[in-house]
Structures are given as structure tokens and as C-alpha cells.
């Protein structure tokens, strides 16, 4: 009880901020949200702002590219993985596999062997990743906890090794000349200017947030929460747990595939080394660091995991030391993440008690 209480006290600042926002009149809410969104669309220009620029800029490397190649992808992936880990409570250690399926689908269908336009490749990548999610999930979602983690870990590696050994997937050399998004007017999707990719990617992120918020507050979201909290009890309340776990897996995979597809069309070249196991671990770190199950939390987590190593590039190889220290500190002082999900503390406290 006292443990739970102390967690609750630590979480109050965010809750207060949220409540204060909700208490505002509708017009104020809209204009504040619009301002925030506008400011976020202008993120590529943040390094030019005094003070903020000094904090956010990544010395030695272009902030624009860090934003589009790292931060944008990590935020999208964290949102997708959060559906699986945060909403439904399924530990997935091979999420990079879905990211790879999305990236390779876009690569294969746009780079020579086939020449589908980008606009067709994107949904196709999402669908392929979703199918991969269902194929992996159908046999494995009957497993629980550690077993599921190991099987998904294997899946991530299978995808990477398959790509490495298949000629039509480019083998170790990878695939180049991946189609870029079509340029519309002033939005030129080229190599030199990364800003349009952020405008596109941030729009995608906003759409994903909107869809996931709707889902979380629907009957599906309730079923996921019940499965996460107590799978047996969920089944006893009439929730078809297997079906909803599979849905979580498929939707999570689809968002992973979406991120992979965007990544491939941004960088224009992929090879199996882009999809190492380490990425799965970092994706999971983003979710846990930000706050498992909390959408704004995992966005923050995705940003930090992508940004910190680049921000501290000046420390050369020791930059990962900074990253590690941040991870440890957050987990010691905020075990349920930077912006926790409501009720996360109760879950942690309960598990703690049952271990005694």
C-alpha cells in the first residue's frame, strides 16, 4: 500500500498537467493543441531557436537527418510496439522483424524487379507486416510471458538472416534505389532536404495517434487492458483473449511495417545490418523508458532513445554510457516510465506483493 502510495505521489505532476488541460474550455484546448502541433511540425527548425537549439541540436551530425532517420522511426515504432507490450501486455523481443518486413516490401516492389509507385508500396508494406504478425501470432500467442519473448526473438532473427541469404532480397549487399515519396509542389522528397520527410512522417504519427486513441477507448482497448491485467480473469469475463491478442499483434505489426516502409523510402538503401537484434531491444527500451501503455509516454521514450546517443556524440564512444546511465536512472526513480499509464503502479505493486 505504501509503495503504491509513493508511486502515485510521484506521478501527480503529469496527471495534474493532464487534468488542468482537460479543465480548460473547448476553444482554449483547440488552440493550445493547434499551437503544439504547429510547433512540432517545425521541429526541423528548432536548432535555430536560442537555448532550445543548444539543448536539442546534435553536434557533429545533421539534426534534420537524426529527426527523420532516427527519432521519427523510433516514435512510430514505439507507438506500434506499445500496442503489443503496453496495451495487451505481450512481451515481443522481435519487433524489428515487422519493421524489416515493411522496409523490405517497399524495397522489393519499388526498386527494379518491380516498379510499383511509392503510394502503392506503402499500404502493401503495412499489409505484409500485418500478415507476418498474424502468421507469427497464430501459433505463438498460446504461449505466455517468457516463452512468447523467446519465440518473437527468434522471429526477428529469422527475418534478418533470411534477407541476408536470399538473392532476390539483395543478400548482404541489400537493396538500393528504393522509391521516394512523390514530390508535391514545394515538398521535394530528395536526398538533400530532409524536412519534407518529417512533415510526412509527423502527419503519419498524428494519424496513428488518432487511430490508437480511438482503439484504446473502445471495446477492443478494454479487452486488451483486461488481458494485460489478468488473462485468466479476462477469459472468465467473456473476453476472447486469443482473438484480441492476435489483433494487438497484427495492429502492432502493421505500424512496425509502416515505420519500416517510411524508413526504406527515406534512406533509399537497406541491407540486413539495418535490422539487428539490438534494434528490438532499443524499441522495447523506448516503450519501457517512456511508460509502457502510455501513448504520450512512449512517444517521449522513442524520442529519447533515438536522440540521446546523437546528442552526446561529442563524447565519442562514451555516449552510450550516458544513454545507459539515463536508462538506469529512469528505471530506479520512475519504474513505470517517464509518463506512466494510469494504474501502472498498482500492477507493479501487486506483482511485488505476490513475489514475497
Amino acid at each position: 500500500m505504501s509503495l503504491t502510495e509513493s508511486f502515485r505521489q510521484r506521478t501527480t505532476p503529469q496527471l495534474q498537467l493532464g487534468n488542468r488541460f482537460r479543465a480548460l474550455p473547448r476553444s482554449a484546448k483547440w488552440s493550445l493543441s493547434a499551437l503544439l502541433i504547429a510547433a512540432l511540425y517545425l521541429t526541423p527548425y528548432w536548432p535555430d531557436v536560442p537555448v532550445l537549439g543548444w539543448i536539442i541540436n546534435t553536434p557533429g551530425t545533421s539534426f534534420e537527418n537524426v529527426l527523420t532517420d532516427q527519432i521519427m522511426m523510433f516514435i512510430l515504432v514505439a507507438l506500434g510496439l506499445n500496442v503489443v507490450v503496453g496495451f495487451a501486455g505481450l512481451l515481443d523481443l522481435g519487433y524489428v522483424g515487422f519493421y524489416a518486413v515493411g522496409a523490405y516490401t517497399t524495397a522489393v516492389v519499388t526498386s527494379g524487379q518491380f516498379t510499383l509507385p511509392w503510394i502503392a508500396a506503402l499500404p502493401l508494406s503495412v499489409i505484409m507486416a500485418m500478415i507476418a504478425g498474424v502468421i507469427l501470432g497464430t501459433p505463438t500467442l498460446r504461449l505466455r510471458g517468457d516463452y512468447l519473448a523467446i519465440v518473437t526473438l527468434g522471429f526477428g532473427e529469422i527475418i534478418r538472416i533470411t534477407a541476408n541469404n536470399s538473392n532476390w532480397l539483395g543478400g548482404p549487399r541489400g537493396i538500393s534505389k528504393i522509391a521516394r515519396p512523390p514530390s508535391i509542389g514545394p515538398l521535394q522528397f530528395g536526398v538533400l532536404n530532409a524536412k519534407p520527410y518529417w512533415y510526412l512522417g509527423f502527419t503519419v504519427i498524428l494519424i496513428v495517434i488518432f487511430v490508437l486513441t480511438r482503439l484504446e477507448n473502445s471495446r477492443v482497448g478494454r479487452a486488451w487492458a483486461a488481458v494485460r491485467e489478468d488473462e485468466d480473469a479476462a477469459e472468465l469475463m467473456g473476453v476472447d483473449t486469443f482473438k484480441f491478442k492476435l489483433w494487438a499483434f497484427a495492429i502492432g505489426a502493421a505500424i512496425g511495417g509502416l515505420a519500416g516502409s517510411l524508413y526504406a523510402s527515406k534512406v533509399g538503401f537497406i541491407n540486413p545490418d539495418n535490422f539487428q537484434l539490438q534494434l528490438s531491444i532499443l524499441f522495447l527500451a523506448a516503450v519501457v523508458l517512456g511508460g509502457t501503455g502510455s501513448m504520450y509516454g512512449v512517444i517521449m521514450g522513442g524520442f529519447l532513445v533515438a536522440w540521446i546517443p546523437e546528442r552526446f556524440r561529442g563524447f565519442s564512444t562514451r555516449r552510450y554510457f550516458v544513454f545507459g546511465v539515463v536508462l538506469v536512472l529512469v528505471m530506479v526513480f520512475r519504474p513505470q516510465g517517464i509518463i506512466p499509464r494510469r494504474g501502472a503502479a498498482a500492477g507493479i505493486a501487486k506483482k511485488g506483493e505476490s513475489d514475497v
Partner: protein, 236 residues
């Protein structure tokens, strides 16, 4: 007959936990399964709610064979369990926990408000704790929440697994009186209990389980005065 269990056999690995038991619950009845630890009471209940697979035998609900039906589909038929160890959702508020009970009837069930009111009427304590997280409730409150949540599904048959476990004597009396009240509203109850005296006093009929067999059956009162039952389960 509402529930009929015929020659039920259940295994845990190679160990046969239930060795061919038969019993039934009639419409409007409270039936208690009593017995010592390891007699197979909880296993029997878990088999009826569909969490444990059946090796042999049949389970019929209103004449429909549900032996191999998925657990969540049985809830739709009207079988709802308040699980052992409560099984509440710790990170959900009391209200959200209760609302999960209406899940089978659709997330936005029209009768949800009325059902909530009914449960709060039975358990005023839950009404005071609506926004509190389930995991922060006391043991007694969690038990009330588990029963209340099962009630929200408007069951025909309620399965109660050790409702008195770990509760103070005063709360135990309260829980059993609520079981009677629920029953008076037309819900049949199948209850598993170690607290044999209270369980038999509350029940219309009882079955005594011993290491996987039904060894005795009768009305609650008959079993209460039965010398063998008294010696074994009621403390002489």
C-alpha cells in the same frame, strides 16, 4: 436442470485430479462443493468455466453440451465465475472492473447503469471506492468486487470459488448473506468452500468431495448433522 456434470475426469499431466464425479445444479438452487485441500473442488469449478480441459465425461448447461466450449463463450450462455484469489484487474478502477462484467453483453450495454446501481446497492463499500484502483482494495473489498463483477454479466449460474478465503469472520457472514440474496433474485449458485459449516448452512444441497470422488451428497442440513461429515469437516 440448469447444470449437469456427468462422470467428469480431469488430469494435471499424468495425475488424475477428478476421478469421475457427477452432480447437478437445479434452477434457483445454491449448491456447495465441500472438501479438504486437494479434493478437486477448484479444479471442478475451473472445468465448468472452461479454463481446464476435460479428459472424459460431459458438462451440460440447460441440456447443451458445453464440454469443449471456449471459456468466453460459456459466459455468453450465462455462466460467470468469481475466480479463486479474486482475479480482479489491479490497474483498473473499481468502476472499470465492474464494467468488464458487462463485456459479454456489449461494451456500451444499455443496462450498465442499472446493473452498476444494483451492485452498489448490494455492496455499498464498492460505491465509496468507485475511482480507486482494484489493486489497492483490501481482501474483503476485492472479494466483493469479484462477486459484483460476475453479477454485472447477469449470469444464470454463478460460480464462486472460496468466497470466504482469507476474510474476517464478520465479512464472511456478510458474503454468505449476499450469496443468499443473489440467489433470491433468481441466480443459481455453485460454490466451492473450505468453510464447510457456513457453506452448508447457505446451500440447498451439498456434495462432499474427497481426492477426486464425490463421497457424500444431500441437503445442506442433512450434511450439517451427518456424523461422518461433522467429524471430517466441521470439527466434530
Amino acid at each position: 436442470m440448469l447444470l449437469e456434470v456427468q462422470d467428469l475426469h480431469v488430469f494435471y499431466g499424468k495425475i488424475e485430479a477428478i476421478k469421475g464425479i457427477s452432480f447437478n445444479v437445479n434452477e434457483g438452487e445454491i449448491v456447495s462443493l465441500i472438501g479438504a485441500n486437494g479434493a478437486g473442488k477448484t479444479t471442478t469449478l475451473r472445468t465448468i468455466s472452461g479454463v481446464r480441459p476435460v479428459a472424459q465425461g460431459r458438462v451440460l448447461f440447460e441440456g447443451i453440451d458445453i464440454t469443449n466450449m471456449a471459456s468466453h463463450d460459456r459466459v455468453k450462455l450465462g455462466i460467470c465465475q468469481a475466480p479463486e484469489g479474486r482475479g480482479i484487474f489491479p490497474g483498473m478502477s473499481v468502476r472499470e472492473n465492474l464494467e468488464m462484467g458487462t463485456y459479454v453483453r456489449g461494451y456500451k450495454s444499455d443496462t450498465k447503469a442499472a446493473d452498476l446501481e444494483h451492485v452498489v446497492h448490494l455492496f455499498p463499500r464498492l460505491g465509496e471506492r468507485m475511482t480507486q484502483l482494484g489493486g489497492t482494495l483490501s481482501g474483503g473489498e476485492q472479494q466483493m468486487l469479484a462477486i459484483g463483477r460476475a453479477l454485472m454479466s447477469r449470469p444464470r449460474l454463478m460460480l464462486l470459488d472460496e468466497p470466504s478465503m482469507g476474510l474476517a469472520p464478520m465479512l464472511i457472514a456478510q458474503i454468505f448473506s449476499i450469496v443468499k440474496q443473489i440467489n433470491s433474485e433468481g441466480i443459481s449458485v455453485l460454490m466451492v468452500e473450505q468453510n464447510a459449516t457456513q457453506a452448508l448452512r447457505t446451500a440447498h444441497r451439498g456434495y462432499v468431495l474427497e481426492t477426486g470422488y464425490v463421497v457424500k451428497t444431500g441437503t445442506g442440513n442433512d450434511l450439517l448433522v451427518d456424523p461422518a461429515v461433522r467429524a471430517a469437516y466441521l470439527g466434530g
